[in-house]
């Protein structure tokens, strides 16, 4: 099925939990609320016409106003592609772990926790990953992070 048919099918099956977003330039992009995340994930993976069983990527984004967590999925059986994102305000940056749905999510979520500071509920294994063991300088990928030995490239 092509992109428009897929979009209609998703809108029908999701019953309002997934709203289309205009920011996706090439593939389909939807907005999902944090409380609906597990329902959406299970529906996408298990429905017999969708079967999105392959998790490509989870990225954390700090837009300057809020956090966003972007999930990229694909279906091996039907050769489909889709993205959706969850918006989180700065003061309530908690998201539920999807590692029961897609085991590949475990390390992606651990990295988001370590570099952005977004808390992951029900993960069970959140500890030091990419940064040195004695790192105490905060969450480096946030836009407002700074440190004494962080040298920025001068703007010409």
């Amino acid at each position: 099925m092509n992109k428009d048919e897929l979009k209609e099918k998703i809108l029908k099956l999701s019953q309002g939990t997934m709203t289309p977003s205009e920011s996706g330039v090439f593939d389909l992009m939807f907005d999902v609320k944090p409380s609906d995340l597990m329902k959406v994930a299970l529906m996408l993976r298990d429905h017999e016409n969708l079967k999105f069983d392959f998790l490509n990527n989870i990225s954390g984004v700090d837009t300057g106003e809020r956090f966003e967590v972007v999930y990229s999925l694909s279906s091996i059986t039907f050769s489909l592609r889709l993205d959706f994102k969850v918006a989180l305000p700065y003061d309530q940056a908690v998201i539920e772990s999807t590692k029961e749905v897609w085991p590949a999510a475990e390390w992606h979520e651990r990295e988001i926790w370590e570099l952005f500071g977004i808390d992951i509920a029900n993960h069970g294994d959140l500890n030091r990953f990419l940064l040195p063991d004695d790192w105490d300088q905060g969450y480096p990928m946030r836009k407002d992070w700074d440190a004494p030995d962080f040298i920025r490239m001068p703007q010409l």
């Binding site: 040195p132 480096p140 490239m153």
Partner: protein
């Protein structure tokens, strides 16, 4: 090696004994320079060029250099690749485990001053010369195998010009 260091001290006291020390120096430094065994320490992109230099076309073995996997059997570290803050203590530990006389070649821009990762990176150690004492710097990103071979030839020249009294703790 401790006994050999005492030879110049005693040899100079005998008239004409300086010749003994000089000949001994040249034999020892020549044999050391022509048989440097390097530790296989490779982190990032320069590792592939190091591998290529050790392979068929540009051969390291003709200079007498073969790779050893353990620092106890090596007398040269070619630090190839970016050293991050997490990896820096391990590099120092490997250097400490080597037996003297030992030498360090800093290969590639990242080990000289951070390379392309100097600006805007929070986890890269900008150069290795505050971790281990470096003898030869080879610039490039990554340096060609010919550059690496020339660096090793410079190191050989440096070793051959060393005096016995210079083999002190670094």
């Amino acid at each position: 090696m401790g006994l050999i260091k005492k030879v110049p001290v005693y040899a100079e006291q005998i008239p004409g004994g300086g010749i003994v020390a000089t000949q001994l120096e040249s034999i020892l430094s020549h044999s050391q320079a022509c048989s440097m065994w390097y530790l296989l320490f490779a982190t990032a992109c320069c590792a592939i060029e190091l591998m290529c230099t050790g392979a068929s076309r540009y051969d390291f073995d003709r200079l007498g250099m073969i790779f050893r996997p353990t620092p106890r059997q090596a007398d040269l570290i070619i630090a190839a690749g970016t050293i991050t803050k997490k990896m820096a203590p391990r590099l120092r530990r490997l250097y400490d485990q080597m037996a003297e006389p030992r030498y360090v070649i800093a290969m590639g821009g990242c080990t000289i001053k951070g390379g392309p990762f100097y600006y805007d990176s929070y986890a890269v150690e900008k150069g290795i010369d505050h971790i281990v004492p470096v003898d030869i710097y080879i610039p490039g990103c990554p340096p060609r195998p010919e550059s690496l071979l020339e660096g090793c030839l410079h190191l050989q020249k440096k070793i051959k010009s060393q005096k016995l009294a210079d083999w002190h703790e670094k």
